[in-house]
Protein backbone atom coordinates (compact mmCIF):
# COMPACT_ATOMS: atom_id res chain seq x y z
CA UNK A 1 0.00 0.00 0.00
CA UNK A 2 1.18 3.51 -0.73
CA UNK A 3 0.76 5.20 2.62
CA UNK A 4 0.86 8.99 2.86
CA UNK A 5 1.55 11.34 5.74
CA UNK A 6 0.82 15.05 5.43
CA UNK A 7 3.16 16.83 7.74
CA UNK A 8 3.57 20.49 8.67
CA UNK A 9 6.56 22.25 10.13
CA UNK A 10 5.64 24.48 13.08
CA UNK A 11 7.50 26.55 15.69
CA UNK A 12 8.71 24.54 18.69
CA UNK A 13 6.11 24.61 21.47
CA UNK A 14 8.70 26.24 23.72
CA UNK A 15 9.52 29.05 21.28
CA UNK A 16 8.36 32.48 22.38
CA UNK A 17 6.52 34.05 19.46
CA UNK A 18 6.15 37.71 18.62
CA UNK A 19 3.96 39.32 15.97
CA UNK A 20 5.95 41.04 13.23
CA UNK A 21 3.73 43.18 11.06
CA UNK A 22 0.21 42.46 12.21
CA UNK A 23 0.00 39.52 9.82
CA UNK A 24 2.83 37.11 10.62
CA UNK A 25 5.29 36.13 13.33
CA UNK A 26 8.99 36.91 13.69
CA UNK A 27 10.75 33.84 12.37
CA UNK A 28 14.21 34.72 13.64
CA UNK A 29 15.59 32.49 16.38
CA UNK A 30 12.68 30.09 16.19
CA UNK A 31 13.36 26.41 16.34
CA UNK A 32 11.18 24.61 13.80
CA UNK A 33 9.84 21.14 14.49
CA UNK A 34 7.39 18.62 13.08
CA UNK A 35 3.87 19.44 14.25
CA UNK A 36 3.47 17.15 17.31
CA UNK A 37 0.16 15.65 16.11
CA UNK A 38 1.82 14.86 12.77
CA UNK A 39 4.45 12.86 14.67
CA UNK A 40 1.70 10.49 15.78
CA UNK A 41 0.61 10.34 12.14
CA UNK A 42 4.12 9.41 10.96
CA UNK A 43 4.52 6.76 13.66
CA UNK A 44 1.19 5.13 12.78
CA UNK A 45 2.06 5.18 9.08
CA UNK A 46 5.40 3.49 9.80
CA UNK A 47 3.72 0.87 11.97
CA UNK A 48 1.23 0.11 9.21
CA UNK A 49 4.04 -0.15 6.67
CA UNK A 50 5.95 -2.57 8.88
CA UNK A 51 2.84 -4.77 9.13
CA UNK A 52 1.93 -4.71 5.45
CA UNK A 53 4.65 -6.14 3.22
CA UNK A 54 5.33 -4.18 0.05
CA UNK A 55 4.12 -0.90 1.56
CA UNK A 56 5.94 2.42 1.51
CA UNK A 57 5.42 5.71 3.33
CA UNK A 58 5.56 9.06 1.57
CA UNK A 59 5.76 12.28 3.54
CA UNK A 60 4.10 15.32 1.93
CA UNK A 61 4.87 18.79 3.24
CA UNK A 62 3.78 22.22 2.09
CA UNK A 63 5.92 25.11 3.26
CA UNK A 64 9.01 27.25 2.66
CA UNK A 65 12.54 25.92 2.09
CA UNK A 66 13.20 25.58 5.83
CA UNK A 67 10.58 22.79 5.97
CA UNK A 68 13.16 20.47 4.45
CA UNK A 69 14.77 19.83 7.86
CA UNK A 70 11.47 18.41 9.13
CA UNK A 71 11.02 16.37 5.95
CA UNK A 72 14.50 14.86 6.55
CA UNK A 73 13.47 14.01 10.09
CA UNK A 74 10.38 12.24 8.76
CA UNK A 75 12.60 10.28 6.36
CA UNK A 76 15.04 9.54 9.21
CA UNK A 77 12.19 8.12 11.26
CA UNK A 78 11.63 5.64 8.43
CA UNK A 79 9.58 7.10 5.55
CA UNK A 80 10.74 6.02 2.07
CA UNK A 81 9.73 9.01 -0.05
CA UNK A 82 9.06 12.71 0.35
CA UNK A 83 7.25 15.40 -1.58
CA UNK A 84 7.91 19.05 -0.80
CA UNK A 85 5.43 21.58 -2.13
CA UNK A 86 7.67 24.56 -1.76
CA UNK A 87 6.23 28.04 -1.33
CA UNK A 88 7.07 31.17 0.59
CA UNK A 89 3.53 32.43 0.20
CA UNK A 90 1.18 32.61 3.14
CA UNK A 91 -1.29 29.88 2.28
CA UNK A 92 -4.51 29.10 4.05
CA UNK A 93 -5.79 25.64 4.98
CA UNK A 94 -8.25 25.42 2.11
CA UNK A 95 -5.59 25.97 -0.54
CA UNK A 96 -3.22 23.77 1.46
CA UNK A 97 -5.71 20.92 1.36
CA UNK A 98 -6.24 21.37 -2.37
CA UNK A 99 -2.50 21.36 -3.04
CA UNK A 100 -2.00 18.26 -0.88
CA UNK A 101 -4.91 16.54 -2.63
CA UNK A 102 -3.51 17.30 -6.08
CA UNK A 103 -0.05 16.09 -5.05
CA UNK A 104 -1.36 12.84 -3.62
CA UNK A 105 -3.66 12.25 -6.62
CA UNK A 106 -0.58 12.01 -8.84
CA UNK A 107 -0.31 8.51 -7.35
CA UNK A 108 -3.29 6.45 -8.48
CA UNK A 109 -2.68 3.86 -5.81
CA UNK A 110 -2.68 5.95 -2.67
CA UNK A 111 -4.10 4.16 0.37
CA UNK A 112 -4.39 5.40 3.92
CA UNK A 113 -3.47 9.06 4.45
CA UNK A 114 -2.43 10.06 7.95
CA UNK A 115 -2.43 13.62 9.31
CA UNK A 116 -2.33 15.17 12.73
CA UNK A 117 -5.82 16.28 13.74
CA UNK A 118 -4.56 19.87 13.82
CA UNK A 119 -1.41 21.93 13.42
CA UNK A 120 -0.44 23.59 16.68
CA UNK A 121 0.53 26.89 15.05
CA UNK A 122 -2.77 27.92 13.49
CA UNK A 123 -5.16 25.38 15.00
CA UNK A 124 -7.54 25.54 12.06
CA UNK A 125 -8.42 21.87 12.55
CA UNK A 126 -9.66 21.68 8.95
CA UNK A 127 -6.93 20.50 6.63
CA UNK A 128 -7.66 16.78 6.91
CA UNK A 129 -11.41 17.27 6.48
CA UNK A 130 -10.94 19.51 3.43
CA UNK A 131 -8.41 17.05 2.02
CA UNK A 132 -10.99 14.27 2.33
CA UNK A 133 -13.47 16.47 0.53
CA UNK A 134 -11.09 17.26 -2.34
CA UNK A 135 -10.21 13.58 -2.70
CA UNK A 136 -13.79 12.40 -2.19
CA UNK A 137 -12.82 9.81 0.41
CA UNK A 138 -13.90 9.14 4.05
CA UNK A 139 -12.15 10.74 7.01
CA UNK A 140 -12.15 10.25 10.75
CA UNK A 141 -10.50 12.51 13.26
CA UNK A 142 -9.26 12.50 16.87
CA UNK A 143 -8.04 8.95 16.39
CA UNK A 144 -6.56 7.11 19.38
CA UNK A 145 -6.45 3.57 17.96
CA UNK A 146 -5.87 2.33 14.43
CA UNK A 147 -5.89 -1.06 12.76
CA UNK A 148 -5.95 -2.32 9.22
CA UNK A 149 -7.95 -5.48 8.72
CA UNK A 150 -8.25 -7.08 5.31
CA UNK A 151 -9.21 -4.09 3.18
CA UNK A 152 -10.82 -1.99 5.89
CA UNK A 153 -9.55 0.51 8.40
CA UNK A 154 -10.91 0.29 11.94
CA UNK A 155 -10.32 3.30 14.15
CA UNK A 156 -11.31 4.47 17.59
CA UNK A 157 -11.99 8.12 18.05
CA UNK A 158 -12.27 10.05 21.23
CA UNK A 159 -15.52 11.95 21.51
CA UNK A 160 -17.02 13.99 24.30
CA UNK A 161 -15.84 13.42 27.88
CA UNK A 162 -13.62 10.45 27.16
CA UNK A 163 -16.29 8.41 25.38
CA UNK A 164 -15.01 6.38 22.44
CA UNK A 165 -16.49 5.68 19.07
CA UNK A 166 -15.30 2.79 16.94
CA UNK A 167 -15.77 3.11 13.21
CA UNK A 168 -14.86 1.33 10.02
CA UNK A 169 -13.72 3.04 6.83
CA UNK A 170 -13.02 1.86 3.32
CA UNK A 171 -9.58 2.48 1.86
CA UNK A 172 -8.43 5.02 0.71
CA UNK A 173 -9.31 7.13 3.69
CA UNK A 174 -8.00 9.84 5.98
CA UNK A 175 -6.95 9.37 9.58
CA UNK A 176 -6.58 12.43 11.86
CA UNK A 177 -4.17 11.39 14.63
CA UNK A 178 -4.21 12.65 18.19
CA UNK A 179 -2.24 12.11 21.38
CA UNK A 180 -2.53 8.60 22.76
CA UNK A 181 -2.46 6.89 19.36
CA UNK A 182 1.18 5.80 19.81
CA UNK A 183 4.60 6.81 21.06
CA UNK A 184 6.48 8.36 18.12
CA UNK A 185 9.93 6.83 17.63
CA UNK A 186 13.16 8.79 17.73
CA UNK A 187 15.11 9.13 14.51
CA UNK A 188 18.01 6.69 14.81
CA UNK A 189 21.49 7.53 13.59
CA UNK A 190 21.18 4.87 10.89
CA UNK A 191 17.89 6.47 9.83
CA UNK A 192 19.49 9.91 9.68
CA UNK A 193 22.30 8.58 7.51
CA UNK A 194 19.83 6.86 5.18
CA UNK A 195 17.58 9.94 4.98
CA UNK A 196 20.47 12.05 3.72
CA UNK A 197 20.52 10.11 0.47
CA UNK A 198 16.78 10.08 -0.32
CA UNK A 199 15.84 12.61 -3.02
CA UNK A 200 12.94 14.91 -2.13
CA UNK A 201 10.45 15.50 -4.95
CA UNK A 202 9.86 19.26 -5.29
CA UNK A 203 6.55 20.67 -6.56
CA UNK A 204 5.24 24.21 -6.88
CA UNK A 205 1.72 25.46 -6.21
CA UNK A 206 1.45 26.35 -9.86
CA UNK A 207 2.31 22.81 -10.93
CA UNK A 208 -0.51 21.63 -8.67
CA UNK A 209 -3.01 24.00 -10.23
CA UNK A 210 -3.22 26.43 -7.32
CA UNK A 211 -3.35 29.91 -8.79
CA UNK A 212 -4.97 31.68 -5.86
CA UNK A 213 -3.45 30.75 -2.52
CA UNK A 214 -6.26 32.33 -0.52
CA UNK A 215 -9.30 30.58 -2.13
CA UNK A 216 -11.80 32.93 -0.57
CA UNK A 217 -10.11 33.22 2.80
CA UNK A 218 -8.02 36.22 3.75
CA UNK A 219 -6.42 36.78 7.15
CA UNK A 220 -7.00 40.34 8.34
CA UNK A 221 -5.01 40.68 11.50
CA UNK A 222 -2.72 38.68 13.78
CA UNK A 223 -2.24 39.97 17.29
CA UNK A 224 -0.76 38.84 20.57
CA UNK A 225 -2.99 38.29 23.60
CA UNK A 226 -3.22 41.35 25.88
CA UNK A 227 -0.71 41.34 28.70
CA UNK A 228 -2.06 39.94 31.92
CA UNK A 229 -2.37 42.48 34.73
CA UNK A 230 -0.03 41.67 37.61
CA UNK A 231 -1.31 39.47 40.46
CA UNK A 232 -2.57 41.06 43.63
CA UNK A 233 -1.85 40.07 47.20
CA UNK A 234 -4.66 40.69 49.65
CA UNK A 235 -3.17 41.59 53.00
CA UNK A 236 -4.70 41.69 56.46
CA UNK A 237 -6.16 39.25 58.98
CA UNK A 238 -7.22 35.87 57.61
CA UNK A 239 -10.96 36.40 58.09
CA UNK A 240 -10.96 39.87 56.54
CA UNK A 241 -8.76 38.88 53.64
CA UNK A 242 -10.95 35.88 52.77
CA UNK A 243 -14.01 38.15 52.76
CA UNK A 244 -12.19 40.64 50.57
CA UNK A 245 -11.11 37.83 48.19
CA UNK A 246 -14.70 36.60 47.85
CA UNK A 247 -15.89 40.16 47.24
CA UNK A 248 -13.29 40.70 44.53
CA UNK A 249 -14.09 37.40 42.87
CA UNK A 250 -17.76 38.37 42.81
CA UNK A 251 -17.58 42.01 41.94
CA UNK A 252 -14.37 42.50 39.96
CA UNK A 253 -13.56 39.16 38.41
CA UNK A 254 -17.24 38.18 38.27
CA UNK A 255 -16.40 34.49 38.48
CA UNK A 256 -18.60 33.70 41.48
Amino acid sequence: MNIYVCMKQVPDTEASLTVKDGKSINEENIKWVINPYDEYAIEEALKLKEKEPGSAVTVVTLGPARSESSIRTGLAMGAEHAVHIETDEYIHHKATAKALANAIKQDENYGVIFLGKQAIDEDSYQTHILLADYLGIPAATNITAFSFEGDKVIVEREIDEGAKEKIEMTVPCIVGATKGLNEPRYASLMGIMKAKKIPIKKLTLKELGIEDASIGIKPLKLYAPPEKPPGRIIEGELEDSVKELVRLLKEEAKVL
Partner: protein
Protein backbone atom coordinates in the same frame (compact mmCIF):
# COMPACT_ATOMS: atom_id res chain seq x y z
CA UNK B 1 38.44 32.54 2.10
CA UNK B 2 35.88 31.62 4.73
CA UNK B 3 35.62 29.54 7.84
CA UNK B 4 32.44 27.55 8.41
CA UNK B 5 31.35 27.05 12.00
CA UNK B 6 28.02 25.44 11.12
CA UNK B 7 27.82 21.76 11.93
CA UNK B 8 26.72 19.51 9.06
CA UNK B 9 22.93 19.11 8.84
CA UNK B 10 23.08 15.44 9.90
CA UNK B 11 25.00 16.35 13.06
CA UNK B 12 22.22 18.79 13.93
CA UNK B 13 19.62 16.09 13.30
CA UNK B 14 21.54 13.74 15.59
CA UNK B 15 21.61 16.45 18.24
CA UNK B 16 17.83 16.98 17.99
CA UNK B 17 17.04 13.30 18.13
CA UNK B 18 19.38 12.50 21.05
CA UNK B 19 18.20 15.61 22.92
CA UNK B 20 14.56 14.49 22.61
CA UNK B 21 15.49 11.00 23.75
CA UNK B 22 17.56 12.25 26.70
CA UNK B 23 14.87 14.66 27.86
CA UNK B 24 11.92 12.32 27.42
CA UNK B 25 13.38 8.91 28.27
CA UNK B 26 16.49 9.40 30.44
CA UNK B 27 15.58 12.49 32.45
CA UNK B 28 12.48 11.06 34.16
CA UNK B 29 14.54 8.06 35.41
CA UNK B 30 17.90 9.67 36.12
CA UNK B 31 17.35 10.73 39.71
CA UNK B 32 16.01 7.36 40.83
CA UNK B 33 18.73 5.35 39.06
CA UNK B 34 21.33 7.59 40.71
CA UNK B 35 19.72 7.21 44.15
CA UNK B 36 19.53 3.42 43.82
CA UNK B 37 22.94 3.12 42.15
CA UNK B 38 21.25 1.12 39.41
CA UNK B 39 22.37 0.38 35.86
CA UNK B 40 19.55 0.34 33.31
CA UNK B 41 19.89 -2.36 30.64
CA UNK B 42 16.65 -1.03 29.10
CA UNK B 43 18.08 2.44 28.48
CA UNK B 44 21.33 0.89 27.22
CA UNK B 45 19.39 -1.23 24.74
CA UNK B 46 17.36 1.80 23.59
CA UNK B 47 20.57 3.76 23.11
CA UNK B 48 21.83 0.85 21.02
CA UNK B 49 18.69 0.95 18.86
CA UNK B 50 19.22 4.66 18.31
CA UNK B 51 22.68 3.80 17.00
CA UNK B 52 24.79 5.24 19.82
CA UNK B 53 27.31 2.39 19.78
CA UNK B 54 29.86 1.92 17.04
CA UNK B 55 30.47 5.46 15.74
CA UNK B 56 33.80 4.55 14.23
CA UNK B 57 32.69 1.05 13.22
CA UNK B 58 31.41 0.41 9.68
CA UNK B 59 28.04 -1.22 9.01
CA UNK B 60 29.46 -4.67 8.25
CA UNK B 61 30.30 -5.06 11.95
CA UNK B 62 27.06 -3.48 13.13
CA UNK B 63 28.29 0.08 13.64
CA UNK B 64 27.09 3.26 11.98
CA UNK B 65 30.45 4.58 10.75
CA UNK B 66 29.48 8.17 11.47
CA UNK B 67 32.85 9.25 12.88
CA UNK B 68 33.91 11.31 15.87
CA UNK B 69 32.11 14.65 15.38
CA UNK B 70 28.59 13.17 15.59
CA UNK B 71 29.83 10.96 18.44
CA UNK B 72 30.85 14.07 20.37
CA UNK B 73 27.49 15.72 19.71
CA UNK B 74 25.62 12.62 20.93
CA UNK B 75 27.67 12.24 24.13
CA UNK B 76 27.36 15.96 24.79
CA UNK B 77 23.55 15.74 24.56
CA UNK B 78 23.40 12.72 26.89
CA UNK B 79 25.69 14.39 29.46
CA UNK B 80 23.56 17.54 29.31
CA UNK B 81 20.87 15.43 30.98
CA UNK B 82 22.69 12.60 32.79
CA UNK B 83 26.38 11.75 33.14
CA UNK B 84 25.81 8.08 33.97
CA UNK B 85 24.17 7.28 30.63
CA UNK B 86 26.74 9.39 28.81
CA UNK B 87 29.46 7.42 30.62
CA UNK B 88 27.99 4.11 29.48
CA UNK B 89 28.03 5.32 25.87
CA UNK B 90 31.45 7.01 26.05
CA UNK B 91 33.18 4.09 27.77
CA UNK B 92 31.53 1.45 25.63
CA UNK B 93 32.42 3.20 22.36
CA UNK B 94 35.90 4.45 23.14
CA UNK B 95 37.17 1.77 25.52
CA UNK B 96 34.94 -1.24 24.90
CA UNK B 97 34.38 -1.28 21.14
CA UNK B 98 37.40 0.89 20.19
CA UNK B 99 40.31 -1.48 20.90
CA UNK B 100 38.53 -4.47 19.33
CA UNK B 101 37.75 -2.52 16.17
CA UNK B 102 41.12 -0.81 15.80
CA UNK B 103 43.42 -3.68 16.85
CA UNK B 104 41.35 -6.88 16.62
CA UNK B 105 41.67 -9.44 13.85
CA UNK B 106 38.82 -10.22 11.47
CA UNK B 107 37.57 -13.14 13.55
CA UNK B 108 37.53 -11.13 16.78
CA UNK B 109 35.75 -8.22 15.11
CA UNK B 110 33.09 -10.49 13.57
CA UNK B 111 32.54 -12.29 16.85
CA UNK B 112 32.36 -9.39 19.29
CA UNK B 113 31.42 -6.19 17.48
CA UNK B 114 27.82 -6.94 16.37
CA UNK B 115 26.42 -7.63 19.89
CA UNK B 116 28.47 -4.73 21.28
CA UNK B 117 27.29 -2.27 18.61
CA UNK B 118 23.63 -3.23 19.10
CA UNK B 119 23.85 -2.34 22.79
CA UNK B 120 22.76 -5.81 23.90
CA UNK B 121 26.16 -6.33 25.52
CA UNK B 122 28.92 -4.09 26.82
CA UNK B 123 32.69 -4.57 27.06
CA UNK B 124 35.28 -3.37 29.60
CA UNK B 125 38.76 -1.95 29.25
CA UNK B 126 41.06 -3.36 31.92
CA UNK B 127 44.00 -1.03 32.34
CA UNK B 128 43.94 0.58 35.82
CA UNK B 129 45.11 -1.51 38.77
CA UNK B 130 45.09 -0.86 42.52
CA UNK B 131 48.75 0.23 42.28
CA UNK B 132 48.84 1.43 38.66
CA UNK B 133 46.78 4.53 37.84
CA UNK B 134 48.47 7.41 36.00
CA UNK B 135 51.62 5.26 36.00
CA UNK B 136 50.26 2.54 33.72
CA UNK B 137 53.83 1.22 33.57
CA UNK B 138 53.33 -0.06 37.09
CA UNK B 139 50.95 -2.77 35.84
CA UNK B 140 51.43 -5.99 37.77
CA UNK B 141 48.87 -8.23 36.04
CA UNK B 142 50.87 -10.71 34.01
CA UNK B 143 50.30 -13.38 31.41
CA UNK B 144 52.59 -16.37 30.89
CA UNK B 145 52.51 -18.54 27.79
CA UNK B 146 51.81 -22.21 28.48
CA UNK B 147 51.55 -24.27 25.29
CA UNK B 148 48.68 -22.86 23.22
CA UNK B 149 47.33 -20.85 26.12
CA UNK B 150 48.10 -17.74 28.13
CA UNK B 151 47.75 -17.88 31.90
CA UNK B 152 46.69 -14.51 33.39
CA UNK B 153 47.12 -13.49 37.03
CA UNK B 154 46.40 -10.13 38.66
CA UNK B 155 43.66 -7.61 39.36
CA UNK B 156 42.14 -4.50 37.75
CA UNK B 157 39.90 -1.82 39.20
CA UNK B 158 37.67 1.14 38.22
CA UNK B 159 36.74 -0.66 35.00
CA UNK B 160 33.52 0.64 33.40
CA UNK B 161 30.94 -1.81 31.99
CA UNK B 162 32.77 -5.04 32.99
CA UNK B 163 30.79 -6.79 35.70
CA UNK B 164 27.12 -7.40 34.98
CA UNK B 165 25.29 -10.06 33.08
CA UNK B 166 25.26 -7.59 30.16
CA UNK B 167 29.05 -7.49 30.10
CA UNK B 168 30.43 -9.79 27.43
CA UNK B 169 34.06 -9.47 28.53
CA UNK B 170 37.01 -7.12 28.89
CA UNK B 171 40.20 -6.11 27.14
CA UNK B 172 42.97 -6.72 29.64
CA UNK B 173 46.50 -5.35 29.61
CA UNK B 174 49.12 -7.66 31.11
CA UNK B 175 52.91 -7.91 31.35
CA UNK B 176 54.02 -10.63 28.95
CA UNK B 177 57.78 -10.45 29.40
CA UNK B 178 60.75 -8.11 29.02
CA UNK B 179 61.72 -6.09 25.98
CA UNK B 180 65.30 -6.18 24.72
CA UNK B 181 65.85 -2.75 26.38
CA UNK B 182 64.94 -4.20 29.76
CA UNK B 183 61.54 -2.49 30.02
CA UNK B 184 58.37 -4.49 30.60
CA UNK B 185 56.57 -5.83 27.56
CA UNK B 186 52.79 -5.43 27.55
CA UNK B 187 50.13 -7.23 25.58
CA UNK B 188 46.34 -7.01 25.59
CA UNK B 189 43.94 -9.93 25.77
CA UNK B 190 40.24 -10.25 25.06
CA UNK B 191 38.82 -12.18 27.98
CA UNK B 192 35.17 -13.23 28.03
CA UNK B 193 33.15 -13.19 31.19
CA UNK B 194 32.60 -16.69 32.44
CA UNK B 195 36.15 -17.79 31.58
CA UNK B 196 37.45 -19.99 34.41
CA UNK B 197 39.69 -18.04 36.76
CA UNK B 198 38.17 -14.66 35.75
CA UNK B 199 35.90 -13.07 38.34
CA UNK B 200 34.28 -9.66 38.28
CA UNK B 201 32.75 -7.60 41.05
CA UNK B 202 30.70 -4.43 40.80
CA UNK B 203 32.08 -1.53 42.84
CA UNK B 204 29.49 0.24 44.99
CA UNK B 205 29.23 3.36 47.17
CA UNK B 206 30.37 5.63 44.34
CA UNK B 207 30.02 9.41 44.42
CA UNK B 208 29.76 9.67 40.62
CA UNK B 209 28.18 7.90 37.65
CA UNK B 210 26.06 5.86 39.99
CA UNK B 211 23.86 4.48 37.19
CA UNK B 212 26.83 3.17 35.22
CA UNK B 213 28.74 0.00 36.02
CA UNK B 214 32.18 0.22 37.60
CA UNK B 215 33.98 -3.03 38.17
CA UNK B 216 36.89 -4.87 39.72
CA UNK B 217 38.43 -7.73 37.76
CA UNK B 218 40.30 -10.66 39.31
CA UNK B 219 42.46 -13.14 37.39
CA UNK B 220 43.50 -16.31 39.16
CA UNK B 221 45.34 -18.67 36.79
CA UNK B 222 42.86 -17.62 34.14
CA UNK B 223 43.64 -19.58 30.97
CA UNK B 224 42.76 -18.06 27.60
CA UNK B 225 43.52 -19.48 24.16
CA UNK B 226 46.40 -18.05 22.14
CA UNK B 227 43.88 -16.39 19.75
CA UNK B 228 42.63 -14.13 22.56
CA UNK B 229 45.60 -11.86 22.17
CA UNK B 230 44.72 -8.43 20.71
CA UNK B 231 46.92 -7.59 17.74
CA UNK B 232 50.47 -8.85 18.33
CA UNK B 233 52.40 -9.70 21.47
CA UNK B 234 54.15 -6.60 22.81
CA UNK B 235 51.74 -4.06 21.31
CA UNK B 236 49.71 -3.62 24.49
CA UNK B 237 51.19 -0.37 25.75
CA UNK B 238 50.78 1.45 22.43
CA UNK B 239 47.24 0.06 22.03
CA UNK B 240 46.26 1.39 25.44
CA UNK B 241 47.76 4.85 24.83
CA UNK B 242 46.06 5.21 21.44
CA UNK B 243 42.77 4.10 22.97
CA UNK B 244 43.11 6.68 25.74
CA UNK B 245 43.83 9.47 23.25
CA UNK B 246 40.53 8.75 21.51
CA UNK B 247 38.77 8.15 24.81
CA UNK B 248 39.75 11.62 25.96
CA UNK B 249 37.58 13.12 23.23
CA UNK B 250 34.49 11.44 24.64
CA UNK B 251 35.29 12.47 28.23
CA UNK B 252 35.71 16.02 26.93
CA UNK B 253 32.23 15.74 25.35
CA UNK B 254 30.91 14.64 28.74
CA UNK B 255 32.48 17.73 30.33
CA UNK B 256 30.94 19.98 27.68
CA UNK B 257 27.47 18.45 28.10
CA UNK B 258 27.72 18.54 31.90
CA UNK B 259 28.70 22.22 31.78
CA UNK B 260 25.90 23.02 29.32
CA UNK B 261 23.27 21.25 31.43
CA UNK B 262 24.44 22.98 34.63
CA UNK B 263 24.50 26.34 32.85
CA UNK B 264 20.93 25.95 31.57
CA UNK B 265 19.69 24.98 35.04
CA UNK B 266 21.54 27.96 36.52
CA UNK B 267 20.04 30.47 34.06
CA UNK B 268 16.53 29.14 34.57
CA UNK B 269 16.78 29.12 38.35
CA UNK B 270 18.48 32.52 38.60
CA UNK B 271 15.73 34.14 36.55
CA UNK B 272 12.95 32.53 38.58
CA UNK B 273 14.43 32.94 42.04
CA UNK B 274 13.58 36.24 43.68
CA UNK B 275 15.44 37.79 46.59
CA UNK B 276 15.36 41.40 47.75
CA UNK B 277 12.34 41.82 45.49
CA UNK B 278 13.96 40.86 42.19
CA UNK B 279 15.30 37.96 40.16
CA UNK B 280 18.77 37.03 41.38
CA UNK B 281 19.90 36.90 37.72
CA UNK B 282 19.68 40.72 37.72
CA UNK B 283 22.36 41.01 40.39
CA UNK B 284 25.50 41.71 38.46
CA UNK B 285 27.63 39.27 40.44
CA UNK B 286 25.30 36.46 39.31
CA UNK B 287 24.79 37.79 35.80
CA UNK B 288 28.57 37.91 35.31
CA UNK B 289 28.94 34.35 36.58
CA UNK B 290 26.45 33.25 33.95
CA UNK B 291 28.26 35.31 31.31
CA UNK B 292 31.55 33.60 32.22
CA UNK B 293 29.95 30.17 32.08
CA UNK B 294 28.48 30.80 28.64
CA UNK B 295 31.80 32.13 27.33
CA UNK B 296 33.80 29.20 28.64
CA UNK B 297 31.30 26.69 27.28
CA UNK B 298 31.58 28.30 23.84
CA UNK B 299 35.39 27.98 23.97
CA UNK B 300 35.14 24.41 25.21
CA UNK B 301 32.78 23.44 22.40
CA UNK B 302 34.97 24.94 19.70
CA UNK B 303 38.08 23.25 21.07
CA UNK B 304 36.41 19.86 21.32
CA UNK B 305 34.86 20.00 17.84
CA UNK B 306 38.21 20.96 16.41
CA UNK B 307 39.90 18.00 18.12
CA UNK B 308 37.18 15.66 16.83
CA UNK B 309 37.51 17.16 13.35
CA UNK B 310 41.29 16.58 13.37
CA UNK B 311 40.64 12.97 14.41
CA UNK B 312 38.03 12.49 11.64
CA UNK B 313 40.47 13.99 9.11
CA UNK B 314 43.06 11.41 10.09
CA UNK B 315 45.37 14.15 11.31
CA UNK B 316 47.40 14.34 14.49
CA UNK B 317 44.94 15.06 17.29
CA UNK B 318 46.75 13.84 20.39
CA UNK B 319 47.54 17.29 21.78
CA UNK B 320 44.10 18.68 20.97
CA UNK B 321 42.40 15.66 22.55
CA UNK B 322 44.29 16.28 25.78
CA UNK B 323 43.58 20.01 25.60
CA UNK B 324 39.88 19.39 25.03
CA UNK B 325 39.65 16.83 27.82
CA UNK B 326 41.51 19.06 30.26
CA UNK B 327 39.60 22.20 29.38
CA UNK B 328 36.10 20.72 29.10
CA UNK B 329 36.52 18.91 32.45
CA UNK B 330 37.69 22.10 34.15
CA UNK B 331 34.96 24.22 32.55
CA UNK B 332 32.46 21.64 33.82
CA UNK B 333 34.04 21.98 37.27
CA UNK B 334 33.59 25.74 37.29
CA UNK B 335 30.09 25.60 35.80
CA UNK B 336 28.67 23.06 38.27
CA UNK B 337 30.27 25.03 41.10
CA UNK B 338 28.65 28.30 39.98
CA UNK B 339 25.37 26.53 39.26
CA UNK B 340 25.13 25.11 42.79
CA UNK B 341 26.13 28.48 44.25
CA UNK B 342 23.31 30.13 42.31
CA UNK B 343 20.85 27.51 43.57
CA UNK B 344 21.84 28.24 47.18
CA UNK B 345 20.54 25.71 49.70
CA UNK B 346 18.32 24.05 47.10
CA UNK B 347 21.40 23.13 45.08
CA UNK B 348 22.47 20.85 47.91
CA UNK B 349 19.27 18.83 47.74
CA UNK B 350 18.76 15.77 45.54
CA UNK B 351 15.42 17.23 44.49
CA UNK B 352 17.47 19.46 42.17
CA UNK B 353 19.42 17.75 39.37
CA UNK B 354 22.24 20.25 39.80
CA UNK B 355 23.23 18.34 42.96
CA UNK B 356 23.88 15.25 40.86
CA UNK B 357 25.79 17.27 38.26
CA UNK B 358 28.03 18.64 41.02
CA UNK B 359 29.01 15.11 42.08
CA UNK B 360 29.17 13.63 38.58
CA UNK B 361 31.54 16.31 37.33
CA UNK B 362 34.49 15.37 39.53
CA UNK B 363 35.50 12.18 37.74
CA UNK B 364 36.02 14.12 34.51
CA UNK B 365 39.20 15.60 36.01
CA UNK B 366 40.37 12.13 37.06
CA UNK B 367 39.28 9.41 34.61
CA UNK B 368 41.03 8.59 31.31
CA UNK B 369 44.02 10.74 32.15
CA UNK B 370 43.90 13.09 35.12
CA UNK B 371 44.12 16.83 34.47
CA UNK B 372 47.76 16.53 35.54
CA UNK B 373 48.45 13.81 32.95
CA UNK B 374 46.68 15.88 30.29
CA UNK B 375 48.94 18.82 31.11
CA UNK B 376 51.90 16.46 30.91
CA UNK B 377 50.86 15.28 27.43
CA UNK B 378 50.36 18.85 26.23
CA UNK B 379 53.65 20.05 27.70
CA UNK B 380 55.44 17.13 26.05
CA UNK B 381 53.88 18.07 22.70
CA UNK B 382 55.15 21.62 23.22
CA UNK B 383 58.61 20.17 23.74
CA UNK B 384 59.09 21.45 27.28
CA UNK B 385 61.29 18.54 28.29
CA UNK B 386 63.37 18.30 25.12
CA UNK B 387 66.16 20.54 26.33
Amino acid sequence: MSLNYDLPEDANMIRDSIRDFAENVIKPQARELDAKEKFSPEITKQMGELGLFGFAVPGEYGGNGFGYLPYMVAVEELARIDSSQAATVAAHNSLGIGPIYYFGNEEQKKKYLPPLCSGEKVWGFGLTEPDAGSDAGGTKTNAVKDGNEWVINGAKMFITNASTEYSLGSTVQAVTGKRPDGKKEYSCFLVERGTKGFETKTMHEKMVWRASITSELFFDDCRVPEESILGKQGEGFRQMLTTLDRGRLSIAAMGLGCAQGAFEMAVKYAKERKQFGKSISTFQINAFKLADMDTEIECARNLLYKAAWLCDQGRDYQKHASMAKLYCAEVAHRCVNHAVQLHGGYGLMKEYDVERFYRDQKILEIGEGTSEICRLVISRCIGCYDV
